[in-house]
Symmetry: C2
Amino acid sequence: MPIKNKNKAKESNRDSIDSSLQKNISLKDVAASLKLSPTTVSVVLNYSPLADSIPQETKDRIFEAARNLNYRPNYIARSLRNQRTHTIGVLIPEMSDGYSAAVLSGVEEKLLQEGYFYFVASHHHRAELIEKNTQFLVGRCVEGILAIDTPINQQSFLPIVSISGHDHVKGLTNIVLNHERAAQLAIEHLYTLGHRKIAIIKGQEFSSDTEVRLATMLKAAQEFGISIKDDWVTQLIGDDPSPETGYLATKNLLSRGENFTAVLAFNDISAIGAIRALREKGFDVPRDVSIIGFDDITAAEFHYPALTTIRQPLKKMGSLGAEHLLRTIQENSAETLSLEITVEPDLIVRQSTAEFSK
Amino acid sequence: MPIKNKNKAKESNRDSIDSSLQKNISLKDVAASLKLSPTTVSVVLNYSPLADSIPQETKDRIFEAARNLNYRPNYIARSLRNQRTHTIGVLIPEMSDGYSAAVLSGVEEKLLQEGYFYFVASHHHRAELIEKNTQFLVGRCVEGILAIDTPINQQSFLPIVSISGHDHVKGLTNIVLNHERAAQLAIEHLYTLGHRKIAIIKGQEFSSDTEVRLATMLKAAQEFGISIKDDWVTQLIGDDPSPETGYLATKNLLSRGENFTAVLAFNDISAIGAIRALREKGFDVPRDVSIIGFDDITAAEFHYPALTTIRQPLKKMGSLGAEHLLRTIQENSAETLSLEITVEPDLIVRQSTAEFSK
DNA sequence: TCGTCTTACTAAATCGTTTTAGTAAAGTTT
DNA sequence: AAACTTTACTAAAACGATTTAGTAAGACGA
């Protein structure tokens, strides 16, 4: 007897594997197999309060039939009826820049937890693609939009949460870094090490953090009594997400013949390029010049020299953004005020900065 | 008069912005506004051959009304009716390992081109998550699945394309690197530089390339008359996608007291960790030990020393995979045979390898 | 002038659910 | 024994499109 049971178990297991090869078992099929109406089957399977009057025995039969037939409710039909897709759209500049991926991993974790999926569309910093992709996503009936490092200039009927954005549009929630604090940490670190001549590599115009990053750095410098000459400020060159941008920017900086002792790079990627440019000109990092990156991507720690950097909690920003977006969707609060949620940076001291001795 | 026209243009522009704030214009609404039936409006807007008998004047009215009301067909309703979602599911191990992101960028490019979107689900190398996520994706009515570096052990009624997978399941298409060639390039390079004592860091068990990578390397070495001692083979330690894995593996290797002159790392990430471990023990790369990475991720070029590596055309593998998946979906060919599509590696010589002189 | 063909449409079914509004039978109260 | 409740269901509408199968009116040929 036990053996027979075992066989039976195996068989039903096999059945379910095989049946995963054929599809299209509908509610109607289940209902027909039980000589019940789709209504009854639906309310039971959904644990609807309407099923209160259905006797347990019938419920059991229904559950059993659904399992045996391997019934999976059609998500599309359900979405149509309920007007809920449990899907959100994510706008990113670039899939492969490390930054977006880090944020996305936080987004994904939170969304899957809550039974949501997401569509990603990248725009490569092209305004018309932002517009077009947004339209596509809306066309796909997403319930909200998460914009990562992507400018948003229009109000929408959909809830939007922007990560590292700086636009102030009605109804838009921004997840932003405490930039003042970040700048303070960076400048203070260099100041403490004795640096007074600091160069800054700012981001490209299209990066939404570019402006604040520079402004807060200049302000923090001023507070420490450090004046930063115009000639010590340069900008990333090119628009692909590679260290090349920082490499070219730094070469440009060096060609001006200025003798700064430290560089604040826009991000880790560009800091890596900057180090290479300095090395080519015979400067050792950190002996001759100190460099601070920004973001703390994985590569930062394992670069040589390991990068001192300002860490942004990218993954956390992603999950916070997702969490907030889901909340506004669930509250169905179209009247949401503009909101700003701030996360804190950390100074991570490694080997690319050193005391200035001269 | 021109002025009035201008105003009018502005107003209608404004209307369309405002109307993007309200949603839910259905086919029925458009039809009602024209006193036509939804049928007529549908066939005209879809350029269906059924619209042949509709006079141009009516068509124009319909198009105009659709534009003015900012009508957007409801994708869900359309999907339900047509039984097409134009959505595929992508399984990846990890969002933020650089590898998946590179492949994804190729996938995305191709898919968006063809009007498809994709859902991503990552499984962190956990078998039960692979299973669960696949179920979720199927539940979401995806039309096919793209598995990136993810083991597939079951046939499915959906088309599946696997990138860097090594499973041979009926109906599964594999996009794979020409591993023999890759190994040959790597070994030949080291051989030419005079290296005869080569250590190998193999991947973790969960990486689908681990086995072939090692086997082909050993075979290629043999062909060059190089014998690789068991003690010169070690394995990545830990399961997060950081250089730490290679760092630990290399420390382990060094602790064995063997005196190899070159290291073949499983990938660039781990090569970076390996270099750090060697450096800590006082070995200079490439003067004392040469290192070859694998993949050619962005970081490889800008590492110090820049990594010599075997390039995998990751983005291309992504777009090839997507292309092939779409093709099998469109052909509706459930009878597809197992197929293998091979892409070619390149040897990228940089600064982490040098002639062995002693 | 009848039958056929074309033109310009529309009604209704369908996709697979959920939900509203019943209903028939049995049980309970008064 | 009439009136009301509860039990155990079902029919039909709805979500928003597409598609099949018409239809009514006019044009045309024999």
